[in-house]
Symmetry: C2
């Protein structure tokens, strides 16, 4: 797990290393370090100063424009005019908490719940996915009387104290919290099991049993339904069906963390869990929900919210404010009207096919996988040993940056590119990306 720190070191700017080559960036980096201090983390060996953005493009202060193949928050496109206009109108009209009634908020809540399975009938709006997951854990505890949670080995579920405890990828080199157990994520490349769902379900059962032997009662399992921080594992569709059955059989709840796969990214449907044909007990959401406007949420079965409310109250000052609701409504409109789920499916498939084509020439590519516009591109030193090659991923990240393409890495070994551009990414953008990948791979191995 220690490797996570190395990944960061490989892909991020290192203040101890050489200073940026141009004067403006050098000054900007100094300003940032002067205020954010040790908390400052900047992408790339040579950081980028951004001044504006539109669609799939970010404009740098260096006069260059960068193709964004990484950012999943501005999911319907950077500064989408529809979302921008919705925010501009509402922010001048009313921005207040939910203890007064407001029709915009109710419109949004109804629209959002209508996209979810009928059993998931209530909604709590927060400001971030972290807040939503933090609350979901408390709901699961209240509803089950348990405290134990199961997550995947490299799970990331946010940044509060409680969700950091259930995020092994945020605790490199440290033992798991006592109430947390992990199960391996599916891995079509290194563990091509015939029945990965059954394998995971068995691991879940074993973890619950082991927990019980330590006197810890099982509360639930939380999973990012595309296992992004484990390296992007979407396949096979349906794999979570036996897993949720095991969770329910043991009296636990299944929390689908849709912060990454939600809002159309997987190209199958609006929600990542729909790829697996399951109905979670709780669904949490964040990042793309407002296309960058800070908002998150937890949708759940009404009986679970009632169980929580019997003991606790939850109120979020900014959560569900009308500006967030207006942004959220615009995002849902744009996804539907611009056919972004279909686009994610089409361009995603096209992009995976194109990457597999260049994989014929570039043996460093171990596997191309994913769903919709969430693709993992895994690098190895050779295809026989499948030895992870994080240095190739790092060289790709920094090489692509030099060529004006923004990308990042994920996975336990840091050797997998996390390809998740705004959903308005078109075939021509995919072509540009693949051409640059081809060129950088040629340089690395040349």
């Amino acid at each position: 797990m220690q490797i996570e720190k190395e990944i960061l070191a490989l892909n991020a700017y290192d203040p101890q290393a050489a200073k940026p080559s141009d004067e403006q960036t050098r000054r900007a980096v100094e300003r940032r370090l002067g205020t954010f201090g040790q908390g400052a983390v900047l992408f790339y060996r040579e950081p980028i100063e951004a001044v504006s953005a539109e669609g799939v493009w970010i404009q740098g202060a260096d006069g260059r424009r960068y193709l964004d193949v990484y950012n999943n928050v501005p999911s319907v496109g950077h500064c989408h005019p529809r979302v921008v206009e919705a925010i501009r109108q509402q922010v001048g009209r009313l921005n207040i908490h939910t203890r007064y009634l407001n029709a915009v908020v109710d419109d949004y809540a109804e629209r959002l719940l209508a996209t979810l399975p009928e059993a998931i009938g209530n909604l709590v709006l927060t400001c971030t996915g972290s807040e939503a997951n933090d609350l979901a854990l408390r709901v699961a505890q209240a509803a089950t009387g348990g405290t134990g949670f199961i997550v995947s080995e490299m799970a990331y579920h946010g940044n509060t104290a409680a969700v950091t405890d259930i995020s092994p990828s945020s605790r490199p080199g440290r033992p798991l919290a006592p109430h947390v157990r992990t199960v391996p994520a599916p891995d079509s490349y290194r563990k091509p099991d015939e029945h990965p769902g059954e394998v995971m379900a068995a691991a879940v059962m074993a973890a619950i049993k082991e927990m019980a032997s330590k006197g810890i009662r099982f509360a639930g399992m939380i999973a990012d339904t595309i296992f992004s921080s484990d390296g992007v594992h979407a396949d096979p569709p349906g794999l979570l069906a036996p897993v949720i059955a095991a969770v329910h059989a043991q009296g636990g709840l299944f929390i689908a963390d849709e912060v990454q796969p939600g809002f159309g990214r997987t190209g199958d449907a609006l929600w990542g869990f729909q790829r697996h044909g399951i109905v979670p007990d709780i669904v949490t959401m964040g990042k793309p929900m407002g296309n960058g406007f800070p908002m998150g949420g937890m949708a759940l079965r009404p009986d679970l919210l009632a169980a929580f409310n019997a003991r606790d109250k939850y109120f979020n000052t900014f959560g569900g404010n009308p500006v967030a609701a207006a942004a959220g409504l615009a995002v849902l409109d744009v996804i539907r009207e611009e056919g972004l789920i279909e686009n994610a499916r089409d361009v995603g498939r096209y992009l995976r096919d194109s990457l597999r084509e260049i994989a014929n020439r570039h043996l460093a590519i171990g596997e191309v996988r994913g769903a919709g516009l969430f693709i993992g591109l895994e690098f190895v030193t050779d295809r026989e040993s499948k030895t992870p090659a994080p240095e190739t991923a790092s060289a790709m990240i920094n090489g692509l940056r030099e060529r004006g393409v923004l990308i990042g890495a994920a996975g336990a070994y840091g050797n997998t590119l996390k390809i998740r551009p705004p959903l308005c990414f078109r075939r021509e953008h995919a072509d540009t990306f693949v051409d640059h990948c081809d060129a950088v791979l040629g340089q690395i191995r040349g």
Copy 2:
């Protein structure tokens, strides 16, 4: 503590009680209950549907406008044109995380840190005050090696799992978490000690000693520097000086929670802790920071951030985005250019004087206290026994609502009105408020 639930029941809409009298509100309430379910909490026996707001006024769907004497989030005034314009411009230009450089973010970070004592040299931007406090606890734990925290008896520090543990007012009827101890807030009315700072310092020392006897190492004390949820206790200035000395003597950190008193509200200075002449180790902020745009932050000594970063990393996706930074900059500009700190001081004093004047006629008023535009108005059944009168507070809240004035309550007994209007509240608004208070009190007792 069970009384907190009763306060809510007294002041909030009760779905089990009579339905709202007009058809539109009835439908709006039904919609809200249909999505938010048991999590729906609406102010007043007769809820209000808000459609727009400006300055100190909220426009209702019922065609009435309400004088806002309660909301401290739209602190420089509802929909302040300067803040609205800053958001409108930036949201169409760039809205991205802090792993790319951006000058607006650096401008804000520098401007904000310049308002704080020099020792507090670093900043971490979050989306909410809850996130900031959650992180501050982790920093204090990392820097001290301790886990124990001291808070005031009715403290409220936010809504994540970790900060709910240190928020006794959120846990009515439940024992404190094992790592938490409370000390009484100062109380000029019921405990008019000559030296409340020394009294609190002694209580802190005793709590640390008791903690140690249970094997719990002290990490720090966190306090809202105006003790709002304890009933608004600002006096005497300087009272926290012996307290922070005690905390430091025992190796702990002092976290000033400025979510309520910060950004000019107390009329003394930009920060509540400045009233007490202290330099905290960590300062957290939220609510008024972006005048409603979801943002929060933690400013701290660089050595503390370094201690945290040696073990943990923290990244907040939406935290410090350029739209939040633009909103934050506009808020700082407006506070200075419109002289809102001076206005809070002047109008606050005028309002307290006016309330004390009507207290000559209305014996239900036990005490008028506070600083700047954060005022506590405490009701009692009689002045001899000082028996708390939450029913009077509730009658005031609902009576004022009927007269078009918005207010709420706080404190252990729920008998104290929490008066904290937007900081652009003028003397004429104070007159209106006091006239209505006078009238409602006359009706209640009449």
